[in-house]
Amino acid sequence: MNSNIFICIIVMAAVTYFIRVLPLVLIRGKIKNRFFRSFIYYVPFVTLSVMVFPSILTSTSSFISALIGFVIAVTVSFLGAGLPVVSLFAVAAVFVSELFIR
């Protein structure tokens, strides 16, 4: 290792914090412009969707178990279950399906 690990950690933490804090400091009030307000309204849905798919399919040790977990999570959530329940069902579905796969 050529670089000092602790300086590396400081550099990383500074960059990451800067990105996170900047908008919170710059955007103080409610955005009035309708386009930007709408844009910000849609950001969470798009970001979370893009992060989920297709990465979720490689989040476990097998594609099949991940696919089953994905379908179960969407179904259980669609039926109205809350967040902890959806998570538990997905984890359980992956665990059980992997008992059969391996």
Binding site: F6, V11, P44
Partner: protein, 237 residues
């Protein structure tokens, strides 16, 4: 509701993140150890950065002898999505509490904490956000420590199953509003399709996942804002 009650609610809502983080940072700890990163440094990295993808990429490059500027650039690209998330968060939080809260909240704005915070019904207060952080941060740091120390105390099967927990959480957050609104449902479906295509098509698949998130978020949110503008403040949930 008083402040402490709201804080406790945040802690409770954050418990799935605690367990999800435990699993993910456990793998991070194992990876760091296998790359000969000192245990204390790995734990400190988790406590100071509180970000998954950035840390995974960092330990690999650090063990390969990355330079500081290259490391800073890499973190900037991988974590730029937080810029969009913090922008969205700025519209969700109440402007009544003192300004300094924003400096503390910014530190805890991870993908998962953000997801829970924006799905909170009503105006977001710092106490709720701190509740989420109280659950999430110890999960992240403890998991890292367990990973570097024990190396292998969770069976591989359990670790694999837990790998899906945080993704399932995101699903639990986007499906209910998608069920209520056809527009949101369409946006969720197109975002997933676009993301899938970006990961498979030639040229596009070479774009890093950090950039993919940013490009698609900006493009699709802008298109949605132009096509389906949100009318009133009350629409913002």
């Amino acid at each position: 509701m008083n402040t402490f009650k709201i804080y406790r609610r945040g802690v409770r809502d954050g418990m799935p993140v605690f367990f999800g983080y435990l699993a993910v940072s456990f793998s991070f700890g194992i990876l760091a150890k296998s790359l000969n990163i000192p245990s204390a440094a790995a734990v400190l990295m988790s406590a100071a950065n509180f970000t998954s993808a950035g840390q995974f990429a960092a330990v690999s490059s650090i063990s390969a002898g990355v330079g500081y500027i290259e490391l800073a650039l890499m973190q900037f690209i991988i974590n730029l999505r937080y810029f969009l998330m913090s922008s969205a968060l700025s519209q969700k939080i109440s402007d009544k509490p003192p300004f300094f809260h924003r400096f503390l909240m910014a530190f805890g704005n991870t993908d998962e904490v953000f997801a829970l915070a924006v799905s909170y019904k009503g105006e977001l207060t710092p106490s709720y956000f701190y509740g989420l952080m109280t659950a999430a941060l110890p999960g992240w740091v403890t998991g890292t420590a367990l990973g570097v120390i024990s190396g292998n105390f969770l069976p591989a099967r359990v670790l694999s199953a837990l790998g899906i927990a945080l993704y399932a959480m995101f699903i639990a957050i986007i499906i209910p509003p998608a069920r209520k609104s056809k527009i949101v449902a369409g946006i969720v479906a197109s975002s997933m399709t676009a993301s899938f295509l970006f990961s498979k098509l030639p040229v596009l698949k070479n774009i890093s996942s950090g950039f993919r998130i940013i490009i698609l978020t900006v493009l699709i949110s802008a298109a949605a804002a132009a096509l389906f503008p949100v009318e009133t403040e009350e629409d913002y949930e």
